[in-house]
């Protein structure tokens, strides 16, 4: 009887290893060179930004609406990052004593832009339209998470194809399409 158990264990182990190997390769599909795959991780991606901008302070504590800065969300595929001029509109007066603001002001003087690190980066072959999703009434937080509580923005959603597809499946009646060409360009 003991032997049988051992054998069963060994066979299960073998099968398990096989499935593990297959699954691991599945997540390795970043192997395809052209695509920058953003869909590989499940933990929150939280890159360091050149300037420690706090969404918690601006969007949370101060309650500035998202679209005040991300003005293109309703009009374009991209929500856009506000132009430096827009930051400076307030910070010419506000919090000018902070080093980060001074750093930004100095760059603005030199006509240089801040190089933000993209947190939510879709592969180049994907067509995603903020405009369509915003006008369908989705909250920014649906995909971006509780951004107003984040000191440093991190990615809360996996942004994988399956994640997109499942949401589209759930919103079939609202007109979300499952056609490949809706997202693949």
């Amino acid at each position: 009887m003991k032997n049988r158990k051992k054998q069963f264990g060994a066979i299960s182990l073998l099968i398990g290893l096989g499935v593990l190997a297959i699954s691991l390769t599945a997540f390795q599909n970043s192997a395809s060179p052209p695509a920058r795959r953003a869909d590989v991780q499940f933990d929150a991606y939280q890159p360091e930004q050149p300037i420690a901008y706090s969404h918690k302070l601006h969007a949370g504590d101060l309650g500035i609406p998202c679209e005040y800065c991300h003005t293109y969300a309703r009009r374009s595929r991209t929500a856009g990052i506000p132009a430096m001029e827009q930051c400076m509109a307030c910070h010419q007066i506000l919090a000018t004593d902070r080093p980060a603001i001074q750093q930004m002001a100095a760059m603005f003087e030199k006509n240089e832009a801040i190089e933000w690190v993209k947190v939510h980066d879709l592969p180049d072959f994907v067509y995603f339209s903020h405009k369509r999703h915003v006008s369908a009434g989705f909250e920014c937080q649906t995909c971006h998470g509780p951004i107003e509580t984040m000191e440093v923005v991190s990615r809360e959603a996996p942004l994988t194809m399956g994640w997109c597809v499942n949401c589209h499946r759930e919103h079939r009646e609202q007109g979300a399409s499952l056609d490949c060409l809706v997202c693949h360009k």
């Binding site: 297959i22 192997a31 194809m161 399956g162 597809v165 499942n166």
Partner: protein, 447 residues
């Protein structure tokens, strides 16, 4: 059969002789084929890095030497299963001496064939997308595609062949185990899976072996049918033909038998087992080659008749072009090698004259390779829109990979015959007379 009736002890000794320490010649040949494999690997690496453009493929000829090689190697595999499974079911006794090597050949041929779809696809690094498994994309595969049938047919064929082959090896590995000493013994003991050669084990073993043979028989017929459907299901004139499945299966057995002959004739010489592999075996194989050659020739003729009678301008045109057009050379090579060269084999004398048979078998191999090339390339080169026609010339990369594939195949085969009995010991004993104390007991067998 009297000719191969030897005492059990001699059988063990003679067959296991091939497992002895390799000679210089063996080492030299293995080194050569390994070098060929490395060159083939280099060619493939080059293709992966640069792109498929290093092959000679173009628009409109998207399939060329790689698919030719694929079909060729899958076809080669068929003889092994035919000999081991179908002839087993028919209780053809001459199979017992050759089925092990034929079956090994099957496995190595399918291993070679299996490489080609991966070599052939534009993005080999995502070739595993063809395997249906739950994935984050929520996306499956297209089971309507003949290529997916291929994935299933070839992988099933490979799996079942390996199972069947391994099962057959178990008692023989036990033989080696019991002969060997030291580390070798431990290794073979592990592979022998605890075989003790009892009648109880033999009972289940023989039953299971029979069922596997029964399963492998339709499988072997299906595999090349499915491969042929890659072409037949498509709409390309010259491919779209209902005759393809039987025609391909017959062709596969034809080429496979030729390959068995090509391999066994030098093999029996080198390992000094002429008394086990006699002209009688080759005579039987020759008969099968004659049969399949006739079927294949008939299929060629039928294709032309259907093209004529079917009155489809595209098909008529393609068959005319095949015969007299740009790709006439592969066509005539195919006809000569597959229909005319085997004609001498109608005569028993030729079948039993092994040097002649060896040369003929090589011609048949060449002919069958060109058959696939002819079907694949000439049909694609000139299909519906005359404006889109184009010629295909294989590049050095494709030829290098083809060479590498032959080396790859022979590498495995050479390693196999050094480490495993290339003839089935227990089955050779099966057809030998058992040791009897009283001569009259021999009648029991008849009874």
């Amino acid at each position: 059969m009297k000719e191969i009736n030897f005492p059990y002890k001699d059988i063990n000794r003679d067959i296991l002789r091939s497992l002895e320490k390799p000679g210089l010649l063996y080492v030299a040949i293995v080194s050569m084929v390994v070098a060929g494999v490395i060159f083939g690997g280099y060619c493939w690496g080059y293709q992966l890095v640069k792109g498929m453009g290093v092959a000679g493929l173009n628009h409109p000829v998207g399939w060329g030497v790689y698919i030719t090689d694929f079909v060729f190697w899958v076809g080669i595999g068929h003889a092994g299963t035919l000999i081991s499974a179908i002839l087993f079911l028919f209780r053809a006794r001459w199979r017992n001496a050759i089925f092990r090597s034929a079956e090994a050949m099957t496995i190595f041929a399918v291993m070679t064939a299996g490489l080609f779809p991966v070599i052939h696809v534009g993005r080999a690094w995502v070739a595993w997308w063809l395997i249906p498994y739950p994935n984050q994309r929520e996306l499956w595969v297209n089971f309507r595609s003949p290529l997916l049938w291929d994935v299933f047919a070839v992988s099933t064929y490979f799996s079942v062949s390996v199972l069947f082959f391994s099962l057959g090896l178990v008692p023989d590995v036990a033989v080696i185990r019991d002969k060997a000493k030291g580390l070798r013994r431990s290794i073979y003991r592990y592979i022998a899976l605890g075989w003790a050669s009892t009648t109880e084990q033999w009972r289940h073993y023989m039953a299971g072996y029979g069922f596997l043979a029964a399963l492998a028989t339709p499988l072997v017929l299906s595999v090349h049918s499915v491969v042929s459907w890659d072409f037949a299901v498509s709409i390309v004139p010259g491919w779209h033909s209902t005759i393809f499945a039987p025609y391909f299966v017959a062709g596969a057995v034809f080429s496979g038998m030729a390959m068995v002959v090509t391999i066994l004739i030098p093999f029996r010489k080198i390992f000094g087992i002429e008394k086990y592999l006699t002209p009688w075996h080759f005579d039987n194989m020759g008969k099968l080659i004659v049969l399949t050659s006739t079927i294949v020739s008939y299929a060629y003729a039928t294709e032309y008749f259907i093209a004529y009678y079917g009155d489809d301008p595209f098909e008529q045109f393609i068959f005319w072009e095949r015969t007299f057009g740009h790709y006439a050379l592969p066509f005539w090579l195919m006809v000569i090698c597959n229909c005319i060269v085997p004609i001498p084999l109608w005569f028993p004398k030729v079948r039993r004259h092994l040097p002649t048979f060896f040369v003929l078998s090589i011609f048949i191999n060449v002919g069958m390779w060109f058959e696939r090339f002819n079907i694949i390339v000439s049909s694609l080169a000139q299909d519906y829109d005359p404006f889109a026609w184009g010629w295909y010339v294989p590049s050095w990369v494709e030829m290098g990979i083809t060479l590498g594939s032959f080396c790859w195949f022979f590498m495995w085969f050479l390693l196999f015959i050094k480490y495993f009995p290339a003839m089935a010991i227990t089955e050779m004993k099966e057809i030998a007379d058992p040791p009897m104390k009283h001569a009259s007991a021999g009648h029991m067998e008849v009874a």
